[in-house]
């Protein structure tokens, strides 16, 4: 049973009560919230995710709740809570949805030491995946959202998960976080995609969340083999251009962007090395999404 099978009244009641229990790839989450204004958009963002029954183990019990005391009425705030702990300072209440997504990312990063977690987007075509590690502002999420709306499967726009035993990528298929100019770019590029209303003045600027495609969520538990590592960089006016990257430079890119490489030690080193060996590695400059998509289609087609 999927989240979309719940009526809006049922969804609201569960969210405000015992919580919505759902699976996002390898993680089971229980979401609770006493902030009714996020309910409708949250239901749309997670519409395709499977609900899990009450007997299943839950990895993260998270909640977004209103601020304490006067903060309910004076410049209202939201608090992120995981397993009864508040790891962050509260944020303005209108940032509740982005806060939930940032908080879930934090949970995965903080608690998942059985997999290699890389700060990178990843998408797949068939069983082959492209990893897109890049610093903020490089156009990573924009490119990821565009690819997902042109037939690529979303694994994750923020955290790429690599199994230590098989080297395969695991999908999360959670909402894509779009920032600033990329919000309107993706609205125009993919008018059918669901985007939340923009939230202004966050630490990352204006943020909107894009719902993952149903195909991505349905296939979230299907692993993908890393086939390409592409370091994207948006540059206004640039022609789309892939440039081969040495495996040593690619290794450093993945290691630098890995959240738990040092914690995993030798296992992290081997996992990064294995990933680099499996991938063709490139840097990629682009400005126009259609050109970028064509390059990725060519990349995927060349190996079939």
């Amino acid at each position: 049973m999927k989240v979309s099978a719940l009526s809006s009244a049922e969804f609201s009641e569960r969210l405000a009560g015992d919580g919505i229990r759902l699976a996002t790839g390898p993680f089971n989450c229980r979401l609770q919230s006493g902030i009714p204004e996020i309910t409708a958009e949250l239901a749309r963002l997670y519409a395709h995710h499977p609900l899990i029954d009450d007997t299943r183990f839950v990895d993260f019990h998270v909640a977004i709740q209103p601020g304490h005391g006067l903060r309910r009425w004076l410049r209202p705030q939201s608090r992120f809570i995981v397993d009864a702990i508040e790891p962050f300072t509260p944020l303005p209440r209108d940032q509740s949805l982005p806060m939930l997504e940032w908080g879930l990312n934090w949970c995965i990063t903080a608690y998942s030491q059985h997999i290699l977690v890389i700060h990178a987007a990843s998408v797949a075509r068939g069983n082959r995946a492209v990893i897109l590690p890049a610093p903020p502002g490089s156009g990573k999420s924009t490119l990821c959202a565009a690819l997902v709306n042109r037939g690529w499967r979303l694994l994750s726009d923020e955290l790429t998960l690599i199994r230590l035993d098989t080297g395969e990528l695991m999908g999360l298929a959670r909402p894509v976080s779009l920032k600033n100019a990329s919000i309107d770019i993706i609205r125009n590029y993919a008018p059918d995609a669901f985007l939340t209303q923009p939230v202004h003045d966050t630490t990352k600027g204006t943020v909107a969340l894009m719902a993952p495609t149903q195909a991505s969520v349905d296939a979230a538990n299907t692993p993908a083999r890393p086939a390409w590592m592409v370091l994207p960089r948006y540059r206004a006016g640039a022609d789309a251009c892939l440039t081969p990257m040495g495996s040593g430079a690619a290794f450093l890119q993945l290691a630098d962007n890995a959240m738990n490489y040092h914690i995993l030690g030798a296992r992290g080193f081997k996992a990064v090395g294995h990933t680099v060996d499996q991938c063709q590695n490139f840097s990629f400059e682009y400005s126009r999404l259609d050109d970028a998509i064509a390059i990725f289609e060519q990349l995927a087609g060349d190996e079939t």
Partner: protein, 104 residues
């Protein structure tokens, strides 16, 4: 800056870490990972060669001796180019604090 009259030797930290160092061959040379220091370095082949030469307890070698060691491995190499590569490698290893320079 490496110069005449100076000898190079491994830092204690390098020798202590030797048993646990992991290496991976890559297009540009080698990736060296020290799990205890949490340090990952990308080394050119000649840089690893020099590091290996110096990774013997008590070993101290001059720049000339290292150049000769490289030329012995690669007899066809241009000595001037080889000298440049060795000096670059020594600077990289000094910056990474894997080796130290001592005056004699």
């Amino acid at each position: 800056m490496p110069s005449v009259g100076i000898r190079y030797a491994a830092c204690d930290a390098l020798l202590d870490a030797l048993p646990s160092i992991l290496w991976k061959s890559v297009d540009e040379g080698w990736v060296r990972f020290d799990p205890h220091a949490g340090e990952t370095l990308l080394l050119a082949p000649v840089t690893r060669f020099i590091l290996d030469q110096l990774s013997i307890p008590g070993c101290q070698l001059s720049e000339d001796a290292l150049i000769q060691a490289v030329l012995q491995e690669e007899p066809d190499a241009d000595p001037a180019e080889c000298g440049t590569q060795v000096r670059t490698a020594l600077e990289a290893l000094l910056d990474a604090r894997l080796i130290q320079a001592t005056s004699h």
